[in-house]
């Protein structure tokens, strides 16, 4: 059941440069539990899209199955969405992204969806560098099937039902880095200030932009003893400082002390502005990012922010040299079929 918000629009709502109001980026009313971290992430996506001035219909949103995977119904109601099957969103997104380079692809998944049943597809989507924003709403459990541990649950983490996880967690950020992802970020659903610009940056990245967002499940995994609970995360977060995304046409305003700000240039000329970056680690160097992540892990901290950024990504369509003249589905029979004369030549080869 999806409830739609009243469509009445206040005439004075602020508009972005494309003339869209915030409302144009909203979706159906959420049916998630009150307080669910996933809803905050949806809101962050809405905000990022509004700020980034992307026409809503130019976004395609794809997901698997789970509470997290339901969220695409709750943002960008004017975009085509695809709630596919459990764990297989990466392949569906891959196929979609091959067809139409004019759209922006948002993949939304859960930790069950991507770290268990979808692990194989996740790994290969990273490897292929699909041009998409890939967000994992990571709550350390299977929300929709009522709270079983997921593969990202930490050793010793306690579920609401009282069971204690015994298995090594899968660290999405570390894994993505190991697999060669070019844009690896980590954040917390409760930290909008950090999350929104990360999503904005991801949207402007031409390649696989991965954001692992810790997103507490208030119903099944927000208890004492859980390492994915709001309280725990707030206490163990190690934010890498604020981030700002500066689109091409904006001027860069350097209002921070010298030495605490880095500007990363994006492929389209826009900038990603880091403030107060940890000084002994450089997100532009993979080894350095690895080490920082490793260090945080060893001290049981959750490193958030932009962890790694490869400046010259080559996405799948570029690797495959696919035409971007127009979307593949717009080619007609006489543009695709080589015609009868060529077929006669082919026939001759078989005589």
């Amino acid at each position: 059941m999806t409830y739609l918000r009243p469509t009445f629009k206040h005439p004075d709502l602020p508009k972005n440069s494309l003339g869209y109001t915030f409302k144009d980026y909203e979706g159906g009313l959420s049916t998630l539990c009150a307080g669910c971290g996933h809803d905050s992430i949806s809101a962050a996506i809405v905000e990022a899209c509004f700020r980034q001035n992307i026409a809503p219909h130019k976004v395609a949103k794809l997901s698997g199955i789970g509470c997290s995977s339901k969220t695409p119904t709750y943002f960008l109601g004017n975009s085509h969405g695809f709630n596919s099957v459990h764990g297989r969103m990466p392949s569906v997104a891959t196929g979609a992204s091959l067809v139409n380079q004019d759209l922006m692809y948002f993949g939304v998944s859960g930790d069950g969806d991507s770290a268990s049943i979808g692990m194989g597809q996740f790994v290969h989507a990273v490897r292929r560098n699909i041009n998409m924003v890939y967000i994992v709403m990571n709550n350390g459990c299977y929300g929709l099937t009522k709270g079983q541990d997921s593969a990202t649950a930490d050793v010793g983490s306690k579920s609401k039902a009282g069971s204690v996880n015994i298995f090594q967690p899968i660290d999405f950020a570390g894994l993505a880095l190991e697999l060669g992802a070019g844009f690896v970020a980590q954040s917390f659903s409760g930290d909008k200030t950090q999350l929104i610009p990360l999503i904005e940056a991801a949207m402007n990245y031409k390649g696989f932009a991965f954001i692992n967002v810790i997103s507490p499940c208030v119903t099944f995994n927000n208890n004492v003893g859980s390492t994915k609970a709001y309280d725990y995360v707030r206490q163990h977060i190690d934010a890498t400082g604020t981030i700002d995304f500066v689109p091409t046409h904006n001027e860069i305003v350097a209002d921070y002390k010298e030495g605490t700000q880095t500007n990363i240039k994006m492929h389209d000329g826009s900038y990603l502005q880091f403030n107060k970056l940890d000084t002994d680690w450089n997100p532009l160097e993979r080894d350095s990012s690895f080490a920082a992540l490793q260090k945080a892990r060893n001290s049981q901290e959750i490193l958030t922010g932009l962890i790694y950024f490869e400046q010259n990504p080559t996405d799948l369509n570029t690797m495959l040299n696919t035409t971007n003249e127009k979307p593949l589905h717009q080619f007609s029979a006489n543009e695709l079929s080589p015609g009868s004369a060529k077929l006669a030549e082919v026939n001759d080869d078989f005589r």
Binding site: S91, G95, V99
Partner: protein
């Protein structure tokens, strides 16, 4: 033993070690006969192995233009000591066994009732060639030369063949000709009996082509407008996408920009392959995958999604011998049931059954239209025999005026005119709703695709009535499919008999021949060849018009019969199954024998095939 010379009617079988280059030499032999205008069929019988195990190549020459396999080897060319015992056994009484007599034949290989022709292949090669690789390769050409002389194959045909084969590497022509000549001369000099088989030029294959079904499917996907192919390697389907890639590189690169009007992804597995296809078709493109049985098993969940969310997809299943990994290099028609009803819940899929390379081409191209018209997966069921063996076929044809039928799609201008877009609304009463491509319109036409139950407006629903309306509309759509899928081939203008034969796919070859055999035995049957599921009304009528229908299938469990009975409620008793499932292409003899036993009109006669 035949006393007079038999023209254009014999089977030659080659026994080799795989990985030794024998396949191309044996193909050369078959192609030479084809170029002489004589009907020829070649079956490559290879192991699931890369190098060192026995492999065979069977060539049937048939003046009556029977393209099915025939049991009984007239001439066996055996250059593999590993399989020699079984090869000797497989020769027909009176037949010929050609072998390498560089080393003397062990007495245990000697049968009194067959003829032996020894050629010192190894010795000749060692004498002529220094390079061990050349020794191995030309050994094969030498025995082709010997056969050429024995069977009176025209020499200049080879000259042409080599010229074609080595275009750009012309210096390889002379040594090949020389090796061929070695074989010819050896026979000229050493064999002075009359060989009981011979070839004679004909016109049967004039204008025809000789090609494998997988290449035809790949080419069909090019002409049919596929722009995305996602696949995972598996025998015997691998060459479908390889052919697609080959032709795409040739014909689908924009000459100006150098950019590709296609994208091919080797996926990490079959689930991902179909997922990519579904993603691409959801986004408006024509996309396909090719696989074999194990892949279809893995694709079940996605097939169910595509059925229920009504997303086009083309899946080419080149069937092999199941169950499980089964015999990966043997043929069968045994994925019918899983394909028709793939996935849990109530699902039904549209199937196409090509019988020839030309149909592989046509039905693959047609599959893209059908899939977009019906907004559902189309599964093309071919098999290893059709897909990997070269078949004589009518040439491929393409009408340059042909447009793709993209099905019911609302574009921006259509959406402007619509009050409220209902993705799953049956406006036309044919069960087929309208879809939109992502990004079509800034305000209208966006909808949410899902595998969960949805109402006419693509909204999530758990309401029983919504659900029921939706799945019943899918049945209406399936009815519509009956009108769109290719019609069957009838073998008679009007029915002539109470009994009939029904077949599909590669069973066509032995079945057509069996019809003749039965006629010779006084049994004239009506016949129909099915090309698609769901079955259209013509087929139902045909079956109703007959008392008994023999259903020819290459599987154990009579899977097509199951579909016929399930969908149309025929009395199973009137559908008599004739089955073969040993992994080898079925023969006319198997069919005619079985029917002779089962037919009420059987006169006390035996088959004289």
């Amino acid at each position: 033993m035949a006393s007079s010379v038999i023209v254009n009617d014999f089977v030659v079988k080659f026994a080799n070690v795989n990985g030794t280059g024998s396949a191309s030499a044996n193909y050369l032999f078959a192609k030479a006969i084809f170029r002489m205008g004589i009907p020829v069929t070649a079956k490559n019988i290879f192991p699931s192995n890369i190098q060192g195990l026995p492999t065979w190549y069977e060539v049937r020459v048939s003046d009556k233009a029977y393209y099915g396999r025939r049991e009984g080897i007239d001439v066996m060319v055996c250059v593999n000591p590993q399989s020699m015992m079984q090869d000797v056994k497989s020769v027909k009484t009176g037949g010929y066994f050609i072998y390498d007599n560089t080393k003397k034949l062990h007495p245990s290989f000697v049968r009194e009732d067959i003829n032996y022709i020894g050629i010192p292949l190894m010795e000749m090669c060692n004498r002529e060639y220094a390079d061990p690789r050349q020794r191995q390769l030309f050994k094969n050409i030498i025995y082709v030369g010997a056969l050429t002389e024995l069977l009176h194959i025209e020499f200049n045909v080879y000259e042409d063949l080599f010229a074609d084969q080595f275009k750009g590497k012309e210096k390889l022509i002379a040594p090949n000709i020389q090796a061929l000549q070695l074989g010819i001369n050896y026979i000229k000099e050493n064999f002075n009996h009359t060989f009981p088989f011979t070839t004679e030029r004909r016109e049967y294959t004039k204008n025809k082509i000789m090609v494998d079904g997988n290449t035809a499917c790949g080419l069909g996907a090019i002409y049919g407008g596929a722009t995305v192919a996602a696949w995972y390697p598996i025998t015997p389907s691998t060459s479908v996408v390889e052919a697609f890639e080959k032709y795409a590189k040739k014909y689908r690169v924009d000459p100006e920009t150098g950019k590709n009007k296609y994208a091919i992804v080797q996926a990490e597995d079959e689930l991902a392959a179909l997922g990519m296809v579904i993603g691409a078709t959801w986004n408006g493109a024509r996309a396909f995958t090719a696989t074999s049985g194990p892949g279809v098993s893995l694709m079940n969940e996605f097939l169910g999604l595509a059925y229920f969310a009504e997303i086009p997809a083309v899946l080419i299943d080149v069937q092999r011998t199941g169950p499980s990994t089964g015999m990966p290099t043997r043929t069968q028609q045994s994925d019918i049931l899983i394909s028709a009803y793939a996935s849990h819940g109530d699902t039904k899929h549209v199937l196409l059954f090509p019988s020839t390379p030309k149909e592989c081409f046509e039905l693959t191209a047609a599959a893209f239209d059908l899939s977009e018209q019906l907004q559902t997966p189309i599964i093309l069921l071919t098999d290893l025999d059709l897909g990997m063996n070269d078949h004589v076929s009518d040439p491929f044809e393409w009408d340059d005026d042909r447009k793709y039928d993209r099905g019911k799609v609302y574009h921006a201008e259509d959406l402007e005119k619509i009050e409220k877009f209902g993705r799953y609304l049956d406006i036309d009463g044919d069960g087929i709703p309208y879809r939109t491509y992502p990004g079509a319109h800034p305000k209208k036409g966006a909808f949410f695709t899902r595998g969960t139950s949805h109402n006419e407006y693509a909204g999530y629903t758990e309401d029983g009535a919504d659900y029921t309306r939706n799945v019943e509309r899918l049945l209406v759509k399936f009815e519509t499919a009956k009108k769109l899928v290719p019609k069957p081939d009838f073998y008679q203008k009007s029915n002539k008999s109470d009994e009939a034969m029904l077949f599909f796919g590669t069973s066509m070859y032995p079945a057509e021949e069996a019809l003749d055999v039965l006629k010779e035995n006084g049994i004239e049957l009506d016949a129909v060849r099915i090309k698609a599921f769901p079955f259209n009304d013509d087929i139902v009528e045909f079956i109703n018009a007959h008392e008994k229908v023999y259903v020819i299938e290459q599987n154990r469990d009579a899977q097509l019969k199951t579909l016929l009975v399930t969908e149309h409620g025929f009395d199973p008793a009137k559908l008599v199954s004739i089955l073969n499932y040993d992994g080898m292409p079925m023969t006319a003899e198997q069919i005619s024998k079985a029917i002779l036993e089962k037919s009420k009109s059987t006169i006390a006669k035996t088959v004289n095939n």
